[in-house]
Structures are given as C-alpha cells and as structure tokens.
C-alpha cells in the first residue's frame, strides 16, 4: 500500500502516465471492489429518514448477526457521489438505486443481477408488473423494491365544494373549467400549481399527464414518437400552454417552484390542484403539518378524453454491487429490506408504509387490514390501489441518454409554460433532442 502510494506520486510527478495512474489507483483500493473491508456490509442510500433507516438496520443486525456499515448521502447529490465512488473503486456492497439510474449503473458495471438468488422469483411474482419492469434491464433483474409511487391528481375538496363541485375532474377540459370557476369566484387567483423549476429530479407530472391520456413519448424501441404517430404529448403541452397563458389558471410562479414549496402551498390552501405522488397526501392531511388537513383528496390524473388510461410510476430499489466481497451477507440485507421475512411478509416495505406512507410494490399489502386502516387516514384505498394497478414506468429508462433527455425536456416544458415555445415546436425539439442524443451515444 505504502509503496503503491509512492509509485503513484512518482508516476504522477513525471506526468507521463495519465493512463496508467488510474489503474494503479484502483489497484491501491483493496483489490477488486469496495466494501468496508472488515466483513461488515457497506450500505449506502440517500438520506431520507436516515435515523429510521439506522433503527431498522440495527434490528436486522440483531436478528441476523450481520453487521451493516450504513452511510446516508445527501439526496440531491446521491447519484453523483455513488458514481464517483464506484469510479474510484470504493463503492458500497449494497445500495439504493433509482430506476432512473439503473441502466447506467448496470452499463457502468456497478451492479450485478440477482436472478436465481433465493427468494427473488417469489418477490417478482408478488409485485406489480410495472415495478418488476422498472427493476429489470435487458432481461435481467437487478433489484428488490424499496418503495414505489404513482402520480395522481391531488385536490382540495373544500375549495372545490365552495366552487360548487362535488367531484374531481376526469378530463383536462373539466380540470380547466373547474379552475376557471374557482378563479372567477375569487377563491384563488391561480388554482393549479406545479413544481416546474429546473432541478435534478424528474418531472413526474409531465409523464403523468402524458400517460394518463394513454400517450407516450417513445415507442417500445425507444424511438421518439411525440412528434409523429402519438399526438398526446403535443395536446398535453397545448393544454398546459392554455392553462398558463390563456385561462391563466396555472400559476406562472410554478417556474420558480421546487416540490417543497408546492407542498407548502397545498398545505396552506393556496392551490386547489396539483399533480403529485400519492404519498404526499399523508403530509397534506396531517393536522400537525397542514392547514388543509382532512380536505385533501386524490383522484386519477385527468386525461384528454376523460377516460382512464394509466399513470406514471417510479420504483426505488435495493441493488447489489458487482464487486462485493460479502455477497451472501449483502443479499441477506437486501432480502430483509426488500424481500419477504420468515413469515412471508414484506417486513420493511410494510414498515415504511406505516412509518412514512411510502408506497409499496407488493400487491398483497393493498389488502392488509393494517395497511388499509392506516391508508384510510389520508387517502381513499380504492383509488390508491387503482393507481398502482394502472401505473407504468417510463419506457426510456433503459437508454443511456435518458438523464440528458429528461433535463432537456424540463427546459422545453418551461418554454411552453412561459409561452415562448409553441407545442408543435416543443415536440419537434424533443424529438430532435432524442435523435441527437441517440447519435451521440451510438
């Protein structure tokens, strides 16, 4: 080790070995992989509720005798940091994985498939197909589910009632009409709010609007169709443009709102509608945190034609590092977190729902009386379950350029919202972006 370091310095000092050095560096870092090196499982995740995670891990160590070395990482920089660690040869043994990054992390050789490991088939048979699809890449399975969520329309039933509406809108036309009424009655200046400031997280609501109307931006071969055979994206963008600029029911401030301020506005009765993840309802309906508690309801995302087509879902999973030296223990941990326990119950999935309302991938849990009882406190279990049934993951997660496309898409949608880009130009530009990226990565 010591010698290696000196070598590195010497080589670096000579400045001629730019190619060799990373190799040497990687060699320095205890052999092939990462890991804690003391036999414990090195586990990393973004820092959502890190204290609860640690408690749950302590419980695992008590029952299994496997030591876990857990490091929570700032959520906004989680992906970047994990990439840096794996590139440097110091990645964890087990880790959280966004469905957004799965393809890249498999291609980058960070993760290994878990097909054939004990219990995996059972898990995949027990979860919603959309979640199974999101955790599969090129025919191989890479994760056990941490949580999932799907997008819904969240509305303030109180404000709707004041405006004379007893039912939430089923179509986008109705949504706009209800919002116009609310606006004209002076109840709210802008009844609809959406988080549309640029950030590194995906804009679920755009995908949600497209999927709820039965459209898609890409076909199954990941070729862009939003500019050709599928007009839904363009129609949705047209609707957004009108809502923001003609009927002015969509708050122009959306362009500088991140998700948290939108949550705050919903909880303060300042918007009647938003499109968001189901689990937000738990917070919105918590009297300690929200002035709107008890009034917030969920519905399917309205569609262009008012019929039910689907919605978007995301899946967060536990993955297994390719180079782990403690594979057995790491997989035990994975099973504890994302699989079934001895009594065939998805223990941790249930734990997260009960503690924080995180959505579960397991179909059976929807019928669990404890879950239903807890769910009733903040949402309608029937709609909650229906959303899970109809939800699909984004079908371009498997392409290497997905992140670039998503980022570009945010900018294009911002252009439509601020009336600087026409919907037809917007979809053309999206298709062109996809084409350019595809070429760049070929």
């Amino acid at each position: 080790m010591e010698l290696n370091r000196r070598q590195v310095l010497k080589l670096a000092g000579l400045g001629v070995t730019a190619t060799a050095v990373p190799g040497v560096l990687a060699a320095c870092s205890n052999g092939s992989g990462g890991g804690a090196g003391d036999g414990s499982v090195k586990f990393e995740g973004w820092d959502y509720e890190a204290t609860l995670v640690q408690q749950n891990l302590d419980n695992f160590t008590k029952t299994s005798n496997v030591k876990v070395n857990y490091t929570p990482i700032t959520s906004a920089q989680y992906v970047q940091k994990v990439v840096a660690e794996f590139t440097g040869g110091g990645g964890p043994d087990a880790l959280y994985v966004y469905d957004d990054s799965l393809a890249a992390w498999v291609e980058g050789e960070y993760l290994q498939p878990i097909d054939g490991l004990p219990g995996v088939d059972d898990v995949y048979a027990a979860i919603f197909p959309g979640n199974a699809e999101a955790m599969t890449y090129q025919g191989k399975r890479y994760g056990l589910p941490y949580y999932t969520d799907s997008n819904c329309l969240i509305y303030n039933a109180d404000i709707l009632a004041k405006a004379g509406f007893s039912k939430p809108p089923a179509s986008l036309e109705e949504l706009e009409a209800q919002a116009v009424k609310i606006k004209s009655m002076g109840l709210l200046e802008y009844p609809i709010g959406l988080p549309a400031q640029l950030s590194d997280t995906w804009w679920a609501w755009v995908w949600g609007l497209v999927y709820s109307s039965g459209g898609d931006m890409f076909d199954d071969q990941q070729a862009p169709i939003m500019n050709t055979t599928d007009t839904v994206t363009k129609d949705v963008l047209t609707w957004l443009q009108n809502a923001a600029n003609k009927s002015k029911v969509l708050d122009p401030a959306s362009l500088q709102l991140l998700p948290v301020p939108v949550d705050n506005a919903m909880k303060a009765n300042r918007y009647a509608f938003t499109i968001g993840a189901r689990y937000a309802l738990r917070d919105y309906n918590d009297p300690q945190k929200s002035k709107a508690a008890g009034k917030m309801k969920m519905a399917l995302v309205p569609s262009l034609d008012g019929k039910v087509h689907g919605t978007i879902s995301n899946t967060r999973m536990y993955g297994l590092a390719k180079d782990t030296e403690v594979k057995d223990d790491a997989f035990k941990l994975l099973t504890y977190l994302g699989g079934f326990d001895a009594s065939k119950q998805p223990y941790t999935a249930k734990f997260w729902f009960q503690q924080r309302g995180l959505g579960f991938a397991y179909k059976e849990l929807a019928k669990d009386p404890e879950i239903v009882a807890a769910l009733k406190k903040f949402a309608d279990p029937a709609i909650y379950a229906q959303l899970a049934e109809i939800a699909r993951p984004r079908n371009v997660l498997g392409v290497a350029w997905y992140t670039e496309f998503e980022t570009e898409m945010h900018k294009v949608v911002q252009g439509v919202l601020s009336n600087q880009t026409q919907p037809s130009a917007a979809v053309a530009s999206l298709a062109q972006t996809a084409g350019t990226l595809k070429k760049k990565y070929s």
Binding site: G15, A18, V83, E189, Q197, Q256
Partner: protein, 301 residues
C-alpha cells in the same frame, strides 16, 4: 527598483527555488496530476456510465463544441453574466470604497457590514436569496408591496431576463467585499499631496477622480478584474441553488453546464473539454489584463 540593481548576491536562483519548493511540491503533488489528467481526459470519449466505449479521440471533443448548441448558448450566457457581474461589482465596489475612504460617523460600522457577505458560503447565499425572491412568501415581494411599488406578489425568477438579473444581483452581493477591500486599500495609500496638487491646479472633483484616483487605482483595479472574472466565470453554487439554470437556458452558465455534464450526465470527456475552454478563456483575459498593466509600466514580478 534601485535597490535590486545594487547588489545581486550569488545563489539567488537556488535560494529562490528553495523557498518556492514547499509550495511547488504541494501544488504539483495535489493538482498537477489532476490538471494534467483532466486535459488528457478532454481528448477522450469518456462517459463514466459506458466504460467500455472509452477511447482516445484527439481533439474531437473540442471540434464538436462548435456545433454544440448547449455549449454555445451557455458560453453566451456566461459572457453576459461575467460582463454584468463584473460591471456591477466594479462600479459598486469602487463607489463603496470611495465612501469608506472618507471620514464620517459610522464608517467603522459600514466597513464591518461590507465584510459581511464575504463570510457567506455560496450555497447559503443562494438559499438566502431564494427565500427573499420567493414568489409566494418572499421578502422582496413583501417589501415592494408595502412600499406600494407593486400591486401583487411577482414571480421574479420566471422570466429569462428576470432570473438572469436577480441571479447576477445575488452573485454580486456575495463577491463584493473582496473587491471593496482591495480598492479601499488602494485608495488609502494615495498620498494626499497628489490631491493637494490637483487642488492647486483647480481640478474639479470629477477631474481629480479621473486624473488622480483612477490612475493610482489601476493596479488594484486590475487585480479585481482578474479575480472577479475568474470568479464570475466559475460561479456555480449561487446559481445552482437559486434557479438551477432556468428558466429554459436563461441562467445556464458554462460553469453550470460543465458541472451538469460531468456529474449528472457523467460525461467526463466532454465536461473536461468544457473546463479547458473555460481555462483558456480566463487565461486569455488575464493575460490581456496583465498586458494592460505592462503597457502602463508598473507591473513587476
């Protein structure tokens, strides 16, 4: 200068390099390799998520920049950002330094306040201004409404121009102190005889300023220009927190695009090429500044 020519003891060369050795060792150990490596990477197709596609491509990354819309747009935004930030910083810092160079009640307090923004990390600065510019609950909206200047709360960061200007304002606030101190320091060394002489010549305040103050301040001013150009070109924290680069591309500076390319898109090769373009531009500008100093004849190293 006369002192130097008097006597030049032998061994100055060796002594000087020995004195520089510790700094050189630390710098070359720690950054020489990363800098060299990044230049090498800039000539690679090197996306961290596709390790198998990695290969040497010479100057292709650089050639591709010419038709890279994202890059060209970011370069434009950056150029404008540097111009606006630099302009505001220099004018405000000079004015503030001139004020602080006078004697008046509360001068000490104002000087302390002038140091305040320096102590604020860029991330915190971004968070602070985000709270202030907030469309729903922001202090700026509150203040302007109470003063009767606006009728209702505005979403300041939703138009391209608005976002750009407010981001520049936030950046200037954060970087002002360093320039103020350097300029104030320069002002405080102007011999009063110079002013007296100018007064004898019956020069008005404005002419005194242009004929005495400005020439004397040239050197500190150029230091401010170099450092603030470097800073503005690399400004990242504040913009990232405040607008994330939006709306659209309005505040996507080259620094922001570079961070996004390397960290979010994991395109290490292209990102390194971006970085070297930034380096080349900053170097050119700095050399330009230094050349200016040479012409004035008072740059000595």
């Amino acid at each position: 200068m006369s002192v130097l020519t008097e006597r030049r003891p032998l061994g100055d060369n060796a002594k000087a390099w020995a004195l520089n050795a510790p700094a050189i060792v630390v710098i070359s150990l720690l950054v020489a390799y990363p800098i060299g490596y990044s230049f090498y990477v800039s000539m690679q197709r090197n996306n961290l998520k596709r390790p198998r596609a990695k290969r040497f491509i010479g100057l292709d990354n650089y050639k591709a920049l010419l038709s890279d819309d994202a890059f060209l747009s970011a370069l434009k935004v950056s150029a404008l950002f540097v111009l606006v930030v630099l302009g505001m910083t220099v004018v405000l810092a000079l004015l503030l330094a001139l004020v602080l160079n006078e004697r008046f009640r509360g001068r000490g307090l104002l000087l302390s306040l002038a140091l305040l923004p320096w102590a604020m990390p860029g991330v915190v600065n971004g968070l602070m201004w985000r709270t202030i510019f907030d469309a729903k609950t922001g202090a700026l909206n509150g203040l302007l409404t109470q003063l009767g200047l606006i009728d209702s709360y505005q979403a300041w960061l939703t138009s391209g121009t608005g976002a750009f200007l407010f981001t520049a304002l936030a950046q200037v606030w954060n970087t002002l102190p360093f320039s103020v101190i350097i300029l104030l320091a320069g002002l405080s060394t102007i011999p009063s005889e110079l002013y007296d002489a100018a007064t004898v010549d019956r020069a008005g305040a404005f002419r005194r300023f242009t004929q005495v103050t400005i020439p004397w301040l040239l050197h500190p001013l150029l230091i401010v220009l170099i450092l603030e150009t470097m800073n503005a070109f690399r400004a990242f924290d504040t913009i990232y927190v405040l607008t994330g680069g939006g709306p659209g591309d309005a505040t996507t500076t080259i620094a922001l695009l570079d961070v996004q390319t390397v960290l979010t898109f994991t395109d290490f090769g292209l990102g390194s090429a971006y970085a070297w373009v930034i380096t080349a531009i900053t170097l050119l500008i700095s050399v330009g500044y230094i050349g200016l100093l040479y012409r004035k004849g008072n740059f000595e190293v």
